[in-house]
Amino acid sequence: MRKSAIIFFALAVLLGVSGLPNQANAARVKAGDCDRACLNEMADKFLAAVVAHDPSKLPHSANVKYTENNVQLQLGDGLWATATGIGAYKIYMDDPEQGSVGYFGVVDEDGHPGILGMRMKVVAQKATEIEVLVARPEGAGGGPMGGAANLKDKPIFSEDVPETERLSRDKLIELADGYFSTIQQNTGKIYTSFADDCQRVENGGITANNPNGTGVAKMGCEAQFKTGLLRFVTRCRDRRFVVVDRQKGLVLVSTFFDHSGSLTSFKLVDGTEFHVRPPFDRPFSFAILELFKMQHAKIRQIEAVIVTVPYHMPSPWVKSSK
């Protein structure tokens, strides 16, 4: 994918396309008319601009909206002033229909690597919306944290789904939405479909189907949820399906897990009494960017960037956060 993007733009430069007001360029100026290569280039420009501490290196609209860890900031503030490098680990997801691109990777801040999740909306080849989560080693709160060093390449995220097997946008969204319905006040009922070898990585830690794990982390995705273990997740709130990539079978979701902390013990599906341990016995929320890879109409691979935020912190992207 990266190679094809480079070739595409090398060709464009060689042919002098960028300077010509030809039909192709005129058409690409429309909203949502930025193809995969264009979207990936925008993601790369964002990363380069952040490391350069220079918002002018990213084409953006005058009223571009930028949020970092669920707080609206000016371009140039926050990570824009501290990022010193981008790691080799990279996942791109593209939604040319919506003009949206998503990116997961690693960002360095003066020797401290953090896990970066980003989604951007592109209109007329300019960034109009940028939503960033950075899970930092010292800021993870009670969240799971395997660390940036544990992120290994997963070719599955860049593999195309054969055309005949591609799911509709609605079906992709339904599968991802069902994942959160399964977790919210987890009763053991499954509202989505999991592949047997479904695996989940959260902030660099393998938290389902971990071959080297023990206990819950060794269990598969579906088996975990069938236990009813996550009943203390009060709400999976404000689910937004920000990138739907039919070609690769990917869905990127922005959401929150609210934990009210008021449920201190409950019975698992098998009748075992479960005592909720810290930090889940106090009110707090996770802000999450969660990526799903679907294969054969099932969830096959999950990867999430998770940041601990104050309980029930509303999203700056949702008008009436529930």
């Binding site: 970092e68 503030d77 501290t82 401290h112 930092r136 010292e138 709160g141 106090r282 009110p283 912190m313």
Partner: protein, 325 residues
């Protein structure tokens, strides 16, 4: 209160009558629907404190139903708007031990700082409320928990310094705006060293989330540490340069009688200052590399124009987060 006058001396009767009247004030009842020129609409110190106590008791009982809440009461917890009954209302598990009150009858506002339990774990708890017409219209709670990234040490808070509950002699009091200016000078001196003079008393000390962060030789283990210095000497070192912006300062409660100013706000650190030079020429390397914000509730005891004592709750928040107010 019914008193059998045959059984008590006239002096004792007077004391009991005074006590009964103070109880009546503290209990406070809702005003009548129609304006009544004879109704006492004011809410004095005892009245405000009774509201604080009732509110905390209701949180611990997980039951707001008996509280005199205004129809459009607003509640925030750690900067987020929540429904009454959510969040800490479902997890508070004991009445407070360590307790500091500050009251501002003129503004109808009061604040509380203390330690109580949340599902059995001690937390530092700060509460602001606003009372209008004997109803609670605003509630703002900040809870500092012992968790990853937190500096909270609630176990250290056992007995509040008596200064916080002592009245300042009338001749040593300052006007409301003068008190705000004194508290504000502290933040201005810290924020990028915008100001240099803060009127500290020579014996001033500061406690932050249960940790004494002035004159604490035990904690001053590294050569760069300023924790062993007093309030004024710390400012003079120019050690606070990484504090980029102290924003959204709200001087929420001005307790003129006790000389207390209770301030809410945020310390933003953009983490761009990688090294900085102290007043004595030494260069210090900033260890934190990512932007962060401290959400603070800070109380100042001011007597005769001097800051005698500072006590604060400090929470690590999200960089740039807002207060909900």
């Amino acid at each position: 209160m019914r008193i059998n006058r045959k059984l008590v001396s006239p002096a004792l009767a007077l004391i009991l009558a005074a006590f009964a009247s103070s109880i009546a004030r503290a209990q406070s009842s809702a005003p009548p629907a129609d304006y009544d020129p004879n109704f006492n609409y004011d809410c004095d110190r005892a009245c405000l404190n009774s509201f604080l106590d009732k509110l905390i008791a209701a949180m611990v009982k997980h039951d707001p139903s008996t509280l005199p809440l205004a129809r459009d009461v607003k509640y925030t917890e750690n900067g987020q708007v929540l429904k009454i009954g959510d969040g800490f209302w479902g997890t508070a598990s004991s009445l407070p031990t360590y307790k500091i009150y500050a009251d501002d009858p003129q503004a109808g506002q009061a604040m509380f700082m203390g330690v109580l339990q949340e599902n059995g774990a001690p937390v530092i708890f700060c509460l602001r409320l606003k009372v209008e017409l004997h109803q609670i219209t605003e509630i703002e709670a900040i809870i500092s928990r012992k968790e990853a990234g937190s500096i909270a040490r609630p176990e250290n808070l056992v007995t509040p310094n008596p200064l916080f509950s002592q009245a300042v002699p009338p001749e040593q009091r300052r006007s409301r705006q003068n008190m705000i200016a004194i508290a504000n000078s502290y933040f201005s001196a810290i924020e990028k060293g915008h100001a240099s003079y803060v009127p500290f008393d020579a014996n001033c000390n500061r406690i932050e989330s249960g940790v004494q962060t002035t004159n604490n030789k035990q904690l001053a283990t590294s050569p760069d540490s300023v924790l062993g210095l007093g309030c004024a000497d710390q400012i003079k070192t120019r050690n606070f340069q990484p504090d980029t912006l102290i924003r959204d300062r709200r001087f929420a409660v001005i307790d003129e009688e006790r000389g207390l100013v209770f301030v809410l706000g945020f310390f933003d650190h953009d983490a761009t200052l990688r090294t900085y030079t102290l007043a004595d020429g030494r260069t210090v390397k900033q260890t934190r590399t990512a932007p962060w914000t401290w959400e603070i509730a800070e109380m100042f005891k001011i007597q005769d124009g001097k800051i005698m004592r500072v006590e604060a709750l400090v929470n690590t928040g999200i960089y740039g987060m807002k207060s909900g107010w």
